[in-house]
Symmetry: C2
Subunit: 202 residues, 2 copies
């Protein structure tokens, strides 16, 4: 029996997304940051979250690190598990966006296939895709988490950019080049890109 047999969605009686957005006086949307480890995804997302919060906007930041310790702690880094990792995150993001929350997702999301899963699950009207751009060499030299050193020493399997490719996104809504602009500049550009999706005319 398929999981969806004998399922009777009650959403017709549930409060609508529109009602929740009216309560919050904001629209829900997902801003999805992809890029290499060390590219600055989470740093920009964290700065953006603080900026939005200061304006009274309710946000949720989902991050490879905190999701991997909870919802997805039973997943590894095989191709199959990476697909399931992104699928679950996208489904959770959708639940938040449909509650009117502005979701900031920070995940490497290295392949076209993974980004398509995110986009198709969330729905293209509700996702803003941001590519956080920095070369492997730059990320390796930053090595904020010491992961590149571990990868060089062969202590990390399946490290993106070394053992597996990062496919450059071709259809991003926004590219943030963290080699050329400061975190503040990247944050401001991300803000400019998302704010019109959030604001509801009063």
């Amino acid at each position: 029996m398929a999981a969806t047999d004998n399922i009777h969605p009650v959403s017709d009686r549930m409060l609508s997304r529109t009602e929740k957005q009216a309560l919050l006086r904001q629209r829900g949307v997902v801003m999805w940051f992809s890029g290499l480890s060390g590219s600055g995804k989470s740093t920009v997302a964290l700065a953006l979250e603080r900026k939005l919060h200061a304006e009274g906007i309710l946000t949720k930041l989902l991050d490879g690190d905190n999701i991997r310790t909870g919802l997805n702690k039973n997943l590894g880094f095989s191709d199959e598990d990476r697909l399931e990792n992104i699928r679950r995150i996208a489904e959770v993001s959708k639940l938040f966006a449909h509650t009117g929350v502005v979701v900031l997702c920070s995940f490497i999301t290295p392949t076209h296939e993974l980004r398509a899963i995110a986009r198709d699950t969330i729905g293209s009207a509700d996702i803003i895709e941001v590519f956080v751009k920095a070369s492997f060499q730059t990320c390796e030299s930053r090595d904020v988490k010491g992961l590149y050193a571990k990868a060089r020493a062969g202590k990390l399997a399946l490290f993106t950019g070394k053992d597996s490719d990062f496919e450059i996104p071709q259809t991003s809504d926004l590219v943030l080049d963290t080699e050329k602009e400061s975190i503040t500049e990247s944050c401001d550009r991300a803000y400019d890109s998302v704010i019109s999706h959030i604001r509801i005319e009063q």
Copy 2:
């Protein structure tokens, strides 16, 4: 390699739960409704959601039906999948509660083990366990979704109450007897139980 190796939680730099709750002027909490199919779980949860929303409280209703068509659409009804179903729902509920949202979960959750997974994942300070009580005979006679008829005809595998036991909760924070009280009465009692957990003194 375990999924949690090389994970560096950024939560120290993330906005705190307290900051989000201050923005929303409410505390996040999870109210978890368990009971047989047809006991009235979702009906009470839906009524409670409308009542809370009317007071300006942001809620999220998670339901076996809508979760099974999204996040958990790759799970069936084996014992293993039922555990994973509840584990994921509890992790998602926790993400919402930590964002300050009042989460209403409506799931059969038929065993002590499943309810313990929910409680342990969410944390006992953040969960209110509600047992929605109605006998198998009553639920069968209501048969809102036509599932009991299907189960009798042998067209449903693993139907709770018929093919597998519903273990009566011994440690609920609240019992709603939908054979003896109306939906409005049950909703009001659920409201009385949760509201002090939500309100932040102004």
